[in-house]
């Protein structure tokens, strides 16, 4: 049975299209919002819009790539075409997973369950610096050396839910 020669070409265009869309949604926000790079006034909002939609766009792209692979699999003429097709589709699927990974929290792990010690149990140098807050009679301190790594701590102090940032 002879299949039209355009079939592999059409499939390749589709797969490359899905790959390009997924790659763009994953890479563009990371490229724009990175340290030591100034962001222009329009770039940052654009990158954040892409970041917000990317989990779903990348997932749809992966589902579409798998569906298209299933549709065209038997029509691909040679074994190496099928291998390439599988690898390409696999890449789109991997990008769908990466689109849900927060690389910043891989670099700077969050404090998922902040724990606190009484001040007289703490051993710090007297000149260690802290960010301190007092609300409703409750005093809380966040050492800057730790905050410089974690950057964010979600907490409740004196009944007020707050986020300490550094």
């Amino acid at each position: 049975m002879n299949f039209p020669q355009q079939t592999p070409r059409r499939f390749a265009f589709l797969l490359l299209g899905f790959l390009a869309v997924s790659l763009f949604t994953v890479v563009y926000p990371i490229y724009v919002i990175r340290p030591f790079r100034p962001q222009g006034p329009r770039e940052l909002p654009a990158a954040l819009v892409v970041a917000r939609v990317r989990p779903w766009v990348a997932l749809l792209s992966a589902v579409a790539a798998i569906a298209v692979l299933a549709r065209y699999w038997r029509m691909l003429p040679r074994r190496w075409c099928r291998v390439l097709a599988a690898v390409g589709t696999g890449l789109v699927a991997v990008l769908a997973v990466l689109a849900r990974v927060n690389v910043y929290e891989l670099m700077f792990h969050p404090v998922d369950h902040p724990a606190f010690a009484a001040v007289n149990e703490v051993k710090l140098d007297k000149d260690d610096k802290l960010i301190v807050v007092k609300i409703g009679g409750s005093a809380r301190a966040y050492p800057i050396r730790a905050m410089g790594y974690h950057h964010i701590v979600n907490d409740v102090v004196g009944g007020t839910a707050l986020v300490a940032t550094y």
């Binding site: 927060n102 000149d127 802290l130 960010i131 050396r145 839910a161």
Partner: protein
């Protein structure tokens, strides 16, 4: 430091990007992105919303321990503690290049400033100069302010220079060790004041000055978010 309650929701924030010297946060409840330095939602369902600032200070451990013997401190997360910053990280950061400079009015990008945005104005106080003077009497906008260096010669607080019930702008002086529990005295009432801005003796004992939020920041970053800032000690 910001409140987490906004638009009827309690938000949980995650690090979502580094933007020059600041970072971007994302709340897990709505997926909105927020600017760390301003507390403003810049993209997402809550775009345009503003978090409420929570007043905080930067103090040495010794000063905080003396002021808050019942206080609680965040514990290290053991598996990451070895990666925490060294104590001299701010000295090492001075050598890191910046992508924006604002080399104007004789300022260098990584000059450390104490920034106050209040009373409709922004003003930056060079950190080294405040440390040298120990008591700065100045204005932000039309309001008189005090910047006070603590007894540890490292911690700094800012206050509005007004005493409730007293007219005009009281003049403050440092006592510098003359009294064990007092750091300042005001000429208007003769009262003695501690580093928390509360009168511990004198006519207005028990009265506290209004604290003003202050941000320790590098010049380039302060200037980037406060384009109309003035600088203490410089005529612009």
């Amino acid at each position: 430091m910001w409140t987490r309650d906004v638009a009827g929701l309690r938000l949980t924030f995650h690090l979502a990007g580094i933007n020059n010297q600041n970072f971007i946060m994302r709340d897990e409840e709505t997926g909105t992105y927020w600017q760390q330095i301003s507390g403003l939602a810049i993209s997402g369902p809550l775009q345009g919303r503003q978090l409420t600032l929570v007043h905080s200070d930067e103090l040495t451990f010794a000063t905080w321990k003396a002021e808050e013997p019942q206080g609680k401190m965040l514990k290290d997360v053991p598996k990451y503690a070895s990666e925490y910053e060294a104590k001299d990280w701010d000295v090492r950061m001075k050598r890191v290049p910046t992508v924006i400079q604002f080399a104007e009015h004789g300022m260098k990008a990584r000059d450390l400033m104490l920034g106050i945005r209040a009373f409709g104005a922004s003003r930056a106080f060079p950190y080294e100069q405040v440390m040298k003077e120990k008591l700065v009497k100045d204005h932000v906008g039309a309001e008189p302010v005090l910047l006070v260096v603590g007894p540890d010669n490292e911690s700094v607080r800012a206050f509005r220079d007004r005493i409730a019930g007293v007219e005009g702008t009281p003049d403050f002086y440092r006592l510098d060790g003359k009294k064990p529990d007092a750091l300042l005295m005001d000429a208007a009432t003769g009262s003695e004041w501690n580093f928390q801005g509360c009168a511990v003796a004198g006519k207005v004992k028990g009265v506290c000055l209004e604290r003003i939020p202050m941000l320790k920041d590098y010049w380039f970053d302060w200037r980037n978010y406060n384009p109309k800032t003035t600088i203490y000690g410089k005529k612009l």
